[in-house]
Symmetry: D2
Subunit: 338 residues, 4 copies
């Protein structure tokens, strides 16, 4: 996630990268850790020192492990610095929810209460006025953007929402940290599996928080994440019982209206299908919806790059909103195909 | 599918391969089409001539395109020959169902009525007595084996069953026939997509036929297939509303009892997870079930090789049942890992 | 190749894309053929009409099949238009060489004689003054950049140069055209093979032309291309007998001096190794050289993106040189990792 | 390597697996470490105790890390037990060579002197009479089988042999041991790289030992290994200067004669090309040779499964030779395609 952020920020026309931090890699150059960045930056990793960071920049991106962000954020905010947090630490508004899903009390409940959930399609205005943006989890982006128009428009029955998430491996395996054998090439290649089965993946909490807000009442989803043999890409398939019988064309119109003007959501028509290949390397979310009249359901599908709209590129979109820049600034490059 | 069948039959200790047919490849040697079989067989492809075939063997496997099997089967059966059909032609018992899903009348309704659905875990006795076995579709095997114990035991609420199937590319792209660009390496690699969205995939009909029979009443499923970037492997995730609140341990016990004695279904326990890698190259189906008490659902997952239990190996198991051989005959080789 | 060119030109700050042509797709929109470009351009494909093209733009890129470019180029040049040709048609200076390797006479020998081989690292000045630039073949770029410093400096013995090229599948399988089964996912995935074995691949001619020019005498190389299971990336391993015994550090210095100031060649040091992953999506060529004192050889390795420095991005670099723009214009985006 | 050996031995009709050892996993069941073997064996890992092992079986396979085998082997041999060693410890006959390549003295020079290099195509008789068989390295098998007919028949000039080896990742990343980030999915997928550049890979020593023996004088090869993004498969491309000008047909005849009667080497003809996909999961080596008259060279290519003929399956072939069984016993299963 940090590497993808650097890739984007290094060529963002409004951004100067003033520092990068790492406890483990302090003193090393960016190019030595990330060979693709050789020659592209003179920066070396600095110790993770929130005080130093607060003095070094106008806005800080945090791509820290869970539990680390909530230690650094208060220091940065005390110094008046804006923060875009890519970790999970500030995504849930309710400290009790946080406790339920993360099994530990939040150390910065004040920050938690003020943080804005960083999905511009839902919270653009609040992000623009925020001092702390909590960029969403990758599965949450896929699930929320796939289903939001139905929930916002009262078209979904709230029981029985089933969400199946399928992610590439870059969503997980952090380079240089403790490596789960599951992420070895010989294990992950030519393999598919579900994990966190039974509704225990933490992105479930974000999905329910946001869908409940859209619906105006509590929404529960049955969410199952899967690990697929590809590097980048996240595909979401959501099955939603319709409150009213609607055909595919009508449903697509609802989506087109909901996402009208959005720079990074492309609503596909009846003869088109989202594929992760069409969005990889970009901030796009391709989405469509199909009616299944036999079962009274809508099948909602979305494709994102888990490191793009599901991660760092969405973080850059938040940056653009936060500073009042055009939202496509630094995010114009088309998806990388093939 | 045909290639995988040859791989298995060439070393099946009770089988002598007496002929292979192909309209397109008549006269060519097996090894010229399938370089992995070079030196393993002296056979050449013979014209697809059902009369010749009827005289050439005791049992015929058909791995023909849809609509072709129903032309060949009556000829073979008239000559008293047993047939194991790997195509979709004889899977639905009801000619009206066939018409609904395949949009054309069946040309051999008598055969359709007599054919046995070739899933030994459900129909072992009928297969043993059959003259025509219709080997199931790959997605159907994955979905049925993942959920059968719940439906058979009255533990599922019949509305709201959502099935998400994820298949490797070998489930689709036939070598030498008209190639959909979707199956090119540059399109399928590093890509995920849903297709036949909205409950229109024909395996849906098989799934509903078999689950309805298990439940004793009509079952509807919302099924969405996906194409994943791997050669072999099919993973199924089914979400089922529970009629009674049960925990994971209780559910696993139900599965263990249901599949007790099955030579090719491995029920995994609470700390284990099916992966396609663990079954590739074999006839195994690894399956487990997890309770999601928040939503009152069971999440049922299964992993098969789409060419194995989802195809040709399951066909060989049918052969073994049909001829009264030990079911593991010719299928003893462990999965190929990694 | 055309798709990659569009990806780059659509965001090139000095370029306005005024038209795209295709015989097969005339009338269709860019986004319908290339779903990743949905919403990024309003262009539709125009018939391949060189006269129309000549009036529509200041410079034309041709990404046509072999033999088609040499028909279009004379029309364009007669109208005074600059052309950057990505096909193989204008790469060999000598019409007799062309005849030898392409088995047919060239229809535009005048153009052939004037065309400049579009590798800026060797021919920057000539490209700047050219009206017709022949962008090199992907294997040729990899092989030439890997070995040029040795040949230019008289450090190589000219017999016994062995070059092994390894390319991803996007180097070959054109979408929508006749598809060789070799490029199907089920054939190309989890597979490696050599092809055009025995020195018959046509890029051999380019490699020898350019290395001979550098060495000042005829160079022959034994070149073998390979197809690997990845979408993008081309890795070259060249083994060269040294005329003088030199150690790795000395050799690396030779490379550093040769490529000093080059914006897209990164010479790696003794502890670093090129990987295709570090250059994918970019115009970079990462290169290094290691002495093998046991055999008196230097092993020269380079990594490029076959669609990048081995194709369209190098074409854009040629464009920048041709128009006197900074060479990194439109090519600043870092490689896409992971 | 150990997992692949278990896959083969569990269904070898002449073998009963009496024990498996592991220091790290003692007490665990086979199925808990290798989920594909669930239900296929009741064995649990036993401490690595050579004394116990000597009493437990008639023959022991060792798949230990380098340096560990040479500690266990003397204990086993003192007890009169036959050993097939899959490690590198006993492959070089000359203790000085061992010292040169492994930078440490061998602790069992007597064993080293008696061990037979376990490539049946070259040493069948010696293996049959051996008490200690050193199964070759994967790259060595590929390189030796690709070039042996030329060297044995005096057709090669001994200077200037260049060998390029390309291996899948299963050749390297051991599950559960210290993991090099290079073998993570996100690093190895969609990536190619050379490593051990400059003739320093230890398999070079084996290749030179065996080719020198065939040629009757010292042979030096310039060998470069590569890591490719596939799980199984090893492709070798060797470029050899011909001592006599021969055409492809003549060269293929030489190979056919050399390998006549070999159960696992398939010599392909002029219109055929080896691919790793055609041998994966088997003990086959597919090989061919093509003349390059322009450079006076032969290009020799071979395809094996690095865990098959390059590892455990070749070990089983050694077992069959050692015990006088038919060499195809337990190795009859065709390659797994696709």
């Amino acid at each position: 996630m940090g590497a993808e952020l650097l890739r984007l920020l290094l060529v963002h026309p409004r951004v100067t990268l003033t520092g990068v931090t790492s406890e483990r890699l302090a003193g090393q150059s960016l190019g030595s850790l990330y060979p693709h960045l050789r020659g592209l930056s003179e920066l070396t990793f600095h110790d993770l020192d929130a005080e130093w960071l607060a003095g070094a920049c106008d806005v800080a991106f945090l791509a820290l492990p869970h539990m680390e962000s909530q230690k650094a954020v208060p220091v940065l905010r005390k110094r008046g610095q804006k923060v875009i947090d890519l970790s999970a630490d500030y995504r849930l508004h309710d400290a009790a929810d946080y406790m339920t899903w993360y099994k530990t009390p939040h150390v910065d409940p004040a920050g938690l209460a003020e943080a804005v959930y960083g999905l511009p399609e839902l919270h653009r205005k609040a992000i623009a006025a925020a001092s702390l943006v909590a960029s969403p989890g990758c599965y949450a982006v896929g699930a929320i953007l796939a289903t939001a128009p139905l929930l916002k428009n009262g078209l979904a029955r709230l029981e029985g929402i089933v969400v199946d998430g399928k992610s590439g491996v870059s969503g997980a395996g952090a380079q240089g940290r403790k490596v789960d054998p599951m992420y070895l090439y010989t294990e992950a290649n030519e393999n598919v599996q579900a994990y966190s089965i039974g509704g225990v993946h933490r992105h479930t909490a974000e999905i329910e928080q946001e869908l409940s807000a859209l619906a105006g009442e509590t929404v529960r989803v049955s969410f199952t994440p899967h690990l697929l043999p590809l590097t980048r890409g996240l595909f979401t398939t959501a099955s939603v019982l319709l409150a009213t019988p609607l055909g595919t064309a009508e449903l697509v119109d609802v989506y087109r209206e909901f996402y009208a003007g959005e720079p990074f959501v492309r609503v596909l028509g009846e003869s088109e299908r989202p594929t992760t290949r069409s969005v990889v390397g970009s901030n796009y979310c391709d989405v469509t919806v199909v009616a299944d009249p036999r079962t009274g359901r809508a099948v909602c599908v979305s494709a994102i790059d888990n490191l793009g709209k599901g991660g760092s590129a969405n973080g850059v979109q938040n940056l653009n909103v936060l500073f009042g820049w055009h939202e496509r600034t630094g995010l114009e490059a088309p998806p990388v195909y093939p």
